[in-house]
């Protein structure tokens, strides 16, 4: 296995994915997973590829740079072998922590500090603050990975206390309840 993670950042416009995947196809790379998002007008994409055994990280990076020059893409290539640490695994649970309430400076920093203090891992974070009465426009949602050895009661207690201090409505729920309601 010769696998790479390719990170692509750019101002969003049509054709970015087509451009990157064309190069990967020509290099005989197999796309294993792609994840992209758009924040405001910025595109961010992650491409997980399985490359031919003789394709080095430097050559892949160089070919991508050459083939996409003048397109405004910022590209970074990481060999999976170079990554530090093991992927998330083992036993554990995913909880969703959702706060609803108006924006304040340092919200994410304060909540993520508590989560980090208990060594829980944030695996997804979404935050939208547009103001107004619609809760959809004033929401932060953390999905965190919790291992059995973690003191969840203490962590959730600290998170609820912080939310109360900040005047936010907080909900902490195991992910399965969202699956039960939404994934039918």
């Amino acid at each position: 296995m010769n696998r790479f993670i390719i990170t692509v950042l750019a101002k969003d416009r049509p054709g970015i994915i087509a451009l990157v995947t064309k190069v990967l196809y020509e290099l005989e790379c197999n796309l294993e997973n792609v994840n992209q998002m758009i924040l405001q007008d910025q595109f961010a994409g992650l491409f997980l590829v399985d490359a031919p055994a003789d394709l080095t990280r430097d050559r892949l990076h160089a070919d991508l740079d050459v083939q996409t020059q003048n397109s405004g893409l910022v590209i970074h290539v990481t060999s999976l072998d170079e990554k530090n640490g093991a992927p998330m695994g083992g036993t554990g649970d995913i909880f969703l922590i959702t706060t609803i309430g108006p924006d304040q400076k340092g919200l994410v920093a304060r909540f993520s500090a508590i989560i980090a203090r208990y060594h829980a891992n944030i695996i997804n974070l979404k935050a939208v603050f547009k103001g107004g009465p619609d809760p959809r426009n004033n929401v932060m949602s953390y999905q965190i990975w919790v291992t059995p050895d973690l003191d969840t009661a203490a962590m959730f207690g600290d998170l609820r206390q912080k939310a109360e201090e900040l005047g936010l409505d907080i909900r902490i729920q195991h992910k399965n309840i969202f699956d039960a309601i939404n994934k039918i």
Binding site: L96, V139, S141, N176, I181
Partner: protein, 456 residues
């Protein structure tokens, strides 16, 4: 990963639309506790029930906290006391009720159901003793619930039992006259009673089920109402499309109940039984069946069109539940308890909902004349006639029906009654022609089972 709308929708259902697990009910078989010695019997049932239920409340709270869904009531249902305590006299039956009440307090659960008898085809000694004990048993305890099944589609209607129950209801009301006849709020008379229902006051553990089982009752009228409103805000919908909205919503709510129930059962090391999705209201704005009728376009529950609307609602709830779980049981439909639903109580007070219309509604919904306060001077015969009418609807239509009628001592039609808590408050409903003599119910015997019961 979840989309924003999936997260917000889930939170809204819990936070603003009153989605909760209405009851986790632990069923405990008491057949291995039987003894002719009362003290030994009481000791046996105490040990058996507490042995299974000591962790029930804490486990329900833990699981509810994990999922952010409150388990509102923790309850216990037991084998029918008329069967397991068949050897005892009425006074001894009352002692058993006190013991059950004390056990319920010990394990800190809301209600214990199963002070019950199954007499659709006749009454044995234990059945007669239990029915004779009902007034004192319910008046002297707080957490004991009772039910008597007097009819089935297979057996017909036991009219002797119907009249006895009318007498028991009147006596129970008289013994709790200072509380508006509150004892009657813990007593249901049934046709085709389910053996796995988690909801009170009719819950008991049937004879064909496991030694211990967890049944879950889920509610969510507020969730259904908001789903209808949200969809109608986007433009007109046909009734078929609205039924589809109700069905999908019921499916989601049922899945929540099964998730919670299975985890509670697993943590207690007890078999999971059924999930019962019954739209059961509370006396809270936004948690009302009556408000669903208004969301459907009717001015009040009880106006023309109400029976059709309830038929559609009940059916869609059943279909959604059946899609969500292979183990749906109990009643699974819509309840219309008058005092427990602010909106229904108001509709009755304003004259939109009469006793006769309520009876018509019960032909298409889950239960029957539920939490209906009637004048205290109603005669036993008239009360028996009302019960018999309701049982006939159940018997002929092969469905469950029940009555939970409270003859409120000293009060007339239109007077206010207050039961408190989930039991709510209402005005006494008028009973037309209640002063007429009723020799019909005094003939006794059994109304034969209908022809379509002959299926073997």
């Amino acid at each position: 990963m979840f989309e924003d709308h999936e997260i917000i929708t889930t939170i809204e259902m819990v936070k603003n639309e009153h989605l909760d697990v209405r009851a986790v009910t632990l069923g405990v078989s008491l057949f291995d506790c039987i003894s002719h010695d009362l003290d030994r019997f009481k000791k046996n049932i105490r040990a058996k029930i507490i042995g299974h239920a000591s962790e029930l409340k804490s486990v329900c709270d833990q699981v509810g906290d994990k999922y952010g869904i409150q388990v509102v009531n923790k309850r216990i249902s037991i084998s029918p006391v008329a069967l397991v305590g068949a050897a005892f006299s009425p006074d001894q039956m009352v002692e058993i009720a006190h013991e059950l009440n004390d056990i319920a307090k010990t394990v800190d659960i809301d209600f214990i159901g199963g002070f019950s008898a199954l007499v659709e085809k006749g009454m044995a000694a234990g059945d007669k003793a239990l029915i004779a004990a009902l007034p004192r048993a319910l008046a002297e305890t707080q957490r004991v619930c009772a039910s008597v099944n007097v009819a089935t589609t297979k057996a017909g209607i036991n009219m002797d039992a119907v009249l006895l129950m009318a007498k028991a209801i009147k006596q129970a009301a008289a013994l709790t006259a200072d509380a508006d006849g509150l004892a009657c709020a813990k007593l249901c008379v049934f046709a085709n009673i389910p053996e796995d229902m988690p909801f009170m006051a009719g819950a008991f553990l049937g004879v064909g089920v496991a030694d211990a089982v967890i049944n879950v009752g889920v509610s969510g009228p507020g969730v259904v109402k908001r789903a209808i409103e949200r969809n109608l805000e986007n433009g007109p919908l046909t009734l078929g499309a609205i039924a589809e909205v109700i069905k999908r919503t019921a499916c989601k709510v049922t899945r929540v109940g099964e998730l919670i129930g299975r985890e509670v059962a697993a943590n207690l090391g007890i078999r999971f039984g059924v999930v019962d999705l019954s739209l059961a209201p509370t006396p809270t704005v936004g948690d009302s069946i009556g408000e669903i009728f208004q969301a459907l376009g009717l001015s009040h529950i009880g106006v023309p069109g109400s029976t059709a609307a309830l038929a559609m609602l009940n059916d869609a709830v059943k279909k959604g539940g059946a899609f969500a779980s292979s183990h749906v049981g109990g009643l699974s439909g819509a309840f219309i308890p008058v005092s427990e639903d602010l909106n229904i109580a108001h509709a009755a007070h304003q004259g939109f909902l009469s006793l006769e219309k309520l009876e018509a509604l019960t032909s298409v919904c889950s239960v029957g004349l539920d939490m209906v306060p009637v004048p205290g001077d109603i005669t036993e015969e008239t009360l028996a006639g009302i019960i018999a009418d309701e049982m006939a609807i159940g018997m002929i239509n092969a469905k469950t029906t029940a009555t939970r009628i409270i003859p409120v001592p000293g009060k007339k039609a239109g007077d206010s009654v207050y039961f408190g808590g989930l039991l709510g408050e209402a005005r006494v409903m008028a009973v037309p022609h209640m002063e007429q003599t009723n020799a019909f119910v005094r003939h006794g015997g059994r109304i034969p089972a209908p022809i379509h019961s002959l299926k073997n």
